[in-house]
Every structure is written in C-alpha cells, then in structure tokens.
Amino acid sequence: MLTELNRILGLAQKLGAEYADARYVSITQEPVSVSTDGAPQISVSKSTGLGLRVLVDGAWGFAATPYLDPRSLEKTADEAVKIAYASALCKKGDGVFLEPLEPKRARWQTPCKVDPFSVKPEEKVEFLTDVVESAKKVPGVFRATASIMSYREEKEFMSTDGRQIEQTIVHSGGSVSVMARGEGDVQSRSFADYAGGGFEFVESLDLKAKAEALADEAVKLLKAPVCPTGITDVVMGGSMVALQIHESCGHPIELDRVVGQEATFAGTSFLTPEKKGSFRYGSQSVNIVADATAPGGLGSFGYDDEGVEAQCVDIVREGIFTDYLTSRELAPLFDQESNGTMRAVGWENIPLVRMTNINLEPGDWTVDEIIKDTKEGIFVDTPKSWSLDDKRLNFHFGQEIAYEIKDGSLGRMLKNPAHTGMTPDFWNSCDAVAGKDEWRIWGTPGCAKGEPVQVIHVGHGATPARFRKVKVGVEA
C-alpha cells in the first residue's frame, strides 16, 4: 500500500497541505464463544481502509475511505483539505505547530509464538467447551460463557516529514463468566485477560480451572451477606487495581484532556499543568510508568500513529506526579517532546492521546503478607462497575466479590461490594503493594474516548495492594 499512501500524500500537498500523514489499516478479528444456553458462536470480520490527516493553514482536516482506487484517493484528499480550510475559520493564533521528526523507515511486529488465526475455530470451540463444562458441573450454576478473542492489525503509516512505518499488531485473550440465580438475586463471577501475543497467552490463562472456582464462588455469593457500609481498610486483587489505575491515573494523565480537548464528552483532568513535578499524587509506595514497550502488554506497539517511537516514561515516582501522555502537537506547548501515545482505532479515526500500558510498579509484599498485616478490612476483586467525575477526582467502583479480613485472616464472603473516594486521597492511602511474583499486565480491550467514540486496547501492570480507611458499601 506504500504506493497509495505516497500518492495521497502528494495529492494533499498539491492541494495545499503543509503537513500530511496517511494510514492504511487492515484489521481481522475472530471472536469465538461457547455458552451453556446456545451453540458455539464463531464469527470473523475484516475492516480495511485509509485515513488521511492534513494540516492546512495551521488547521486540521481528516478524511477516510475504504476504497483505494485513484478516484477515491483524489476525493479523500480533496475532502480532507476542504475540511482543514473550514477548521481554519476558527483557529487559534497561528494554528497548530508540530514537533519536528527526522525521516525514518521502520518495521515492528508483536512477538507471537502461536499465530491465533492458525488455531482452527473448531479447536477453539473444543477448548472453550471444556471451560464451560468445568463451570457447569458446579451445582447451582445457571449460565456459563467462555470466549476467545483473536485480533490482527496490519498498519502502514507514511508522513510528509519522511516517516514510513509498517507494523503488525497481534492481540489474543480469553474470558469466562459464570452466573448463579437464587431467590430474587443473580450473582456473577468472571475472569478476562488479553495481551499482545498469540494463542500461547490464551493457553496460559488456565480458564478451565478458573471456571470451576468462579462457579463455586458465584453460587456461594447468592447466600453471602451484603458488604456493609462503612470506612475500613481495603485490599484489592490485581484486576481491580488495574482498573483503578486505568480510571484514576491513566485518564487524568492524558494531556489532551488536561488542556480541554475532551471536555464535552470524556471530561478534563484534575492533574493541571502546575502540578507536574510537585503534586503528591500518591504515597511513597506508588510508582507508575507508561510503558508502550512492555513485552506482552495490550498497549504495546513500535510506533504511534504520528510515527513517534514507543517509549517508557515515569508518570508517578515515589508518589510525585511527574509526566503526562503527550503528542507532537501538545508536547511543545509545555516545552516537551512527544512521548509517543497518539493512537487511532482502525483507519477511519483520527489519532488521539491514548493510554499505552500504565503500570503500577511492584512493591515488596506478598498478598498473603498484606492480609496477615491487616487487622480489619475487606479483600475485593474483579470490577463490576466504574464511575468517575469529569476531572477524575471522585470515584465509585463496584466489584463482583469481597471477603472480610479479621485479625490478618480472610473471613466471610460478601456480595455487592463497592468503594468510593477521591483519587489523590485514595492513592495516598496506599501503604502496601505486592511484589513482582504477583504482578502482571492486565489487558483492557474496551477503553473508550473521543467523538466519534474510539474503543482501544490498553494494558495495566498491577498487583494486589492495600489502601487504608476507604469508604465501602454499594450505596456508600
């Protein structure tokens, strides 16, 4: 497709673009699911096309088409440039300045042992049937569903400042969800994880063993007491810590939110520019990086959609907020260089500042040590709901399951747990983070942002952690 990309960049320049970049993207997805209430569902989808972004008179225009014939390329270039001229009617000052980049050609590919598309659908069905059977044998289970996601993105990027990047991104993952039904109540337990890699990741999840344990918990939850309302210490499992990072750290460090570009929909951020380098975001135990280079991360890649290299940058160091996720347009406004986080979903969307892998670095505890060290509190795991204000300060998270902690031991199971608080208070109350043996990068394939909304894949390195004096209870 390099010929088409070259052609459309030339057309855009001829029509007046001072800068242009073009992306050809072809995405293949194959979701397979097996459920107790129906036959296996197998589908495959392909989406292919080209997006062109241009700067004209310091203002942006973007147009996208699934067709790559010469006439469609001409029409797309013409539309993008006309749109940019319209943007210029309402531009700020001299308009957009882009951080310069040196020309470069590169190719990057997700390391992958077993191509997930090389595993036949019938093998995936057999694999998932075993998982569902494992859950179904637990008495009281009403419904069980298991699924495998296989994703491949072929991408070619070219810009008028001489970047030419080819990437193949492969993602795989699996999930299992179990539902138990009682008198006027339904309780669910689930597990899901996704990674940059092949089918070897799905096999490593041990979904079959997890399914039985989850089924047992779902049934027991029906008779468990509701998590009481109050203030107590909370120990979180890794998947809950991952979502807490996503919502209360990952989103507020997006620099486009900070300057107000997402105000109408996703919101802004409490992490305003004067806080960079001095604001105490969390306790000394809290160290967070944005690492687009992390092996196996669902937010890993070689180059972003502006042609900038993937990077690992400090976000929070010993509790102090140190940096944002940036772009070629926004970084220079703060005397910085882009740290390579501009990504678009597919070919039909413009790139936005997006999370990569936002990772809480491991501490030096084990989860057993944390629980043993906790006199009174609850252990919560697996997110069920999430809600934050439009600056990401006030939050409310619900979980699928909790256990009481009394005098250093896990006690009764509790249903419908939730916790709420304010982001900096919460992270400053973190006094124990489990170590690298319990650390993993959780894949989050459903991060939504932008208008039209773009749902992108990101990752979060996380491990169990303890937070002191947290408000808990579903209606807290």
Binding site: S33, S45, K46, T65, A86, S147, Q261, D390, L393, E475
Partner: protein, 448 residues
C-alpha cells in the same frame, strides 16, 4: 451514501452467493462528518464513509457469521465462505428460531437532504456562533457538531427486504467560566432545527449563573432533573431491565413482577420506534418491524422488548428490537424510549421546592447492583441549590447512588413537554420531560 437500489443489489448478490443455505444479510453504512472545538477554536474535523456487511449462513440449527467493510465481489464471496466455514463447526443451537419471515414494514421518513448536504463550512460557522458568544463574555467554549447519514438494509432467504436511510445532526457545547460550566445540545434529523445562538445562550446562562459554587453535604434532596440528566437515569432501566433476555434469565427486577405495581402511579414508560418525535427507524437488525412496547403503565410492570430468539422462547412475536450482535448473538434492547408527560413545568417544580437541587446533566454513570438497578454517577455542567422556590446557589458536583426502581416510585412532578435527548453514553435517544423526584440520594461530593 449507497442508496436503496444499490444497497439491496449488494444484498441480493450475497444471497445469490449463498445458494444452498438459508442466509440473512445486513448492511449498515454511515457517512459521518464531525467538527470538534475547544478553547474557542476547532481542533478536530473529519469526514468518513464506512460500511459493514454481515452475512449469517444457516443450515438446520447451525449458523456462522462473517463480516466485511468491502463490497466488491471478492470480499462478498470471502464473507460467504468464511460464514460457511464457521457454520460447519458451530454445532446446533437448540433454541434457534430459524430466520424470521417478512412482515409489513411501515414507512417512516427519516431522511432530510439539508442534513445530508451540510458542508464543513456550515458546521464551522455554527461553531463560530457559540465561540463568539463565549469570547464576548471572556469565557471558553468547547463542543461537537456532527451530521450525516446512516443506512440500514436487511435481506434474507426467507424473503425479508428492508431498507432505511436516516439523517442525524447533533450539536452540543460546554461553556466554561473557570470550574463553572454550562451545557446545551440539540439532536435532530433536520439540521435546520438547530439554532446555534439558542444553544450558546442556554449554555452561557448555566455557566454564569451564581459564579461561586458552594459545598453541599451529601444527603437526600428533592431534585429536579432536566431532560439531559433524566436520559441517564432512564438508560439503566433500558439497559438492564426492559430486554426479554433479562426477563428470561431472571436479571430484570420485573422478571417475576409483570402486572405488579413497581413504580409510582404517574410513571408510564414505553418504546416506540415509529414515532417521529424520536429518531425512529421502522425495523431492526433482523428486518422485523418495530412495535410499540409499554414497559411501565401507571407504575405497573407491563412488558419487554423481544428479538426473534427471545420471542420464540416466550411464544410471542418479535417486537422488532434485535440490537447489535454480541459475539454473534443479537440482544433485544429498547431503541426509542418515552416517558409520559405530566402537567407541570420546570418553573412550577422550582416554585414548589422548599429545599432541593436542580441537576442539568450526569457524567459517566454506571450500575453497581443490577437487580435493584442501583445506579451511580456524578453531576456536571450546572448543579444548583433551590431554596423557597428559587435557585439560590451553584453547588459543587455531587455523586448520586440510588435504586432507579425506588427513585421512579417517588416522582413528584413531570413536565408537560418532552424533547429528544441523548444520554451521556449515547446509548439511547429518548423523548423525555423534566421531572422532580422526592428525596433523591446523593452519597458523595467532589471539589469543583
């Protein structure tokens, strides 16, 4: 835009490639233009065309699905072959109802040429109206102006042939005075109904009313919800409780309570995909005609929306509410919800409030306890304290956590006019009035 003839021609071609099998083919296409602005200038501006053709092949009770966004013969043949391969290994689905047979579909005019032909310059000029209004007061404007055409075509080997093209324009703004913000939007099929000046004025009024925001402790307050806010509350009922799948799995609070009083006498909620007051589309993804479905009538639980699979299980007809496929399965969901209007006005609700709140809008709401439809979220873009029948202060944003079933049992007043409104998530386009709910539960507060 593809157009009716070409769209149906593509579907016929796919059916001809699928000979020997039952098949259902769906084509969705979208021409979207969208302009975004912040800090009083345009920062994103785009146009895109895309389409998705999905073919479902059926043999007996086995089905296979594949989709592509390319409509050349090679891509269509690939989709049919891929669906066939998936069908071969999918096994039998014992509850599979078969592909639905055609039903008469009512014509609804959803297409307005003025909207389809809106140019980037037209959108930029409308944005400039709001930006200039904000600038003239030393304030910041941000927002979105989208316009375009969506097409849906369905054909099947059982004889279904359905096509609809609809235009849509959505213009919204937030005007910001420091941490104080005001919001306004307009959603319509006809772009000529959008008055950018009126949108600017509504948001400006909210942004500048009572500049010093006060802290208000969490607690129960009589609360007036503007239409934007109500859209988020009613969304949870639509998402969680009104689909027949939720009934059949026992996940809906109404599952075992049909015919029982579940909400206040003054609450009647229905879905009507044929009412032009909403963004009506007269059929669903299976090509089945939309039926009017009453969920709650005078507080009594009445019914659910169905697709063909859930309909067969309950021995009823599909109501035409097959929604987006999840992992190859459709789910029945409302499409165009309405809350019956009352006899009040927003001003009368204000005057009758001794001490309470006015909420403009919510942000990022969610449901931590689905069985009782317990929802949570924070207010944004204008929350005000009412005392002795008057707005007396701007309030820093609050978090609510409340069962929607209980909240809709305490509706004290409903406005006599309703307007089309989209929730924060853009899940539903609902036609809603302003309402007042007694003792609504706010459980937390924030700092702005």
């Amino acid at each position: 835009m593809i157009g009716k003839d070409d769209a149906l021609k593509v579907l016929e071609k796919v059916l001809s490639f699928s000979k020997g099998f039952e098949a259902s083919v769906t084509l969705t296409a979208s021409d979207l233009s969208l302009t975004r602005y912040y800090d009083n200038h345009i920062h994103q501006n785009l146009r895109r065309h895309n389409q998705t053709l999905t073919v479902r092949l059926v043999r007996g009770k086995s089905t296979g699905i594949a989709s592509t966004n390319l409509l050349d013969d090679g891509s269509l043949r690939w989709a049919v072959q891929a669906a066939r391969e998936n069908m071969e290994v999918s096994g039998e689905e014992k509850d599979f109802p078969g592909l639905p047979k055609p039903e008469p579909i009512q014509e609804v005019n959803c297409y307005v040429p003025a909207t389809a032909n809106l140019k980037p310059k037209d959108r930029a000029e409308a944005c400039a109206v709001v930006i200039d209004a904000a600038k003239s007061r030393g304030l910041q404007a941000s927002g979105t102006y989208s316009s375009g055409v969506t097409e849906l075509a369905v054909a099947s080997s059982t004889g279904v042939r359905a096509y609809n093209a609809g235009t849509e324009a959505f213009f919204r703004t937030i005007i910001q005075d420091g941490d104080n913000t005001g919001y306004a939007d307009r959603l319509t099929r006809d772009v000529r109904e959008i008055d950018a000046g009126a949108v600017a004025e509504e948001a400006l009024t909210k942004a500048t009313l009572f500049p010093e925001a006060i802290d208000l402790p969490p607690g129960r307050y009589d609360t007036i919800f503007e239409e934007y806010a109500l859209a988020d509350l009613i969304r949870f009922l639509g998402m969680i409780a009104f689909g027949a799948d939720a009934k059949q799995q026992g996940r809906s609070f109404m599952a075992a309570r049909l015919g029982e009083k579940v909400m206040g006498d003054n609450v009647t909620i229905w879905d009507d995909g044929l009412d032009p007051a909403s963004l009506a589309v007269p059929f669903d993804l299976e090509g089945m005609p939309k039926q009017k479905v009453v969920f709650i009538e005078n507080g009594v639980a009445k019914g659910f929306v169905y697709d063909s699979k859930t309909a067969k299980k309950d021995g009823v007809k599909s109501t035409g509410h097959a929604s987006a496929m999840r992992g190859g399965r459709s789910v029945p969901r409302p499409s165009n919800m309405f809350l019956k209007v009352g006899d009040s006005t927003r001003d009368e609700m204000l005057r009758s409030t001794k001490r309470g709140l006015l909420v403009t809008r919510f942000h990022y709401t969610h449901c931590p306890e689905p069985m009782n439809v317990v929802a949570t979220g924070t207010t944004r873009d204008g929350t005000f304290l009412i005392e002795d029948g008057r707005i007396v202060a701007r309030v820093k944003n609050l978090r609510f956590t409340e069962s929607m079933v209980e909240a809709f049992s305490r509706v004290e007043a409903i406005a006599k006019t309703a307007r089309i409104t989209r929730d924060w998530w853009s899940t539903f386009n609902s036609v809603l009035p302003c309402v007042k709910i007694r003792d609504f539960s706010f459980t937390g507060s924030t700092m702005f």
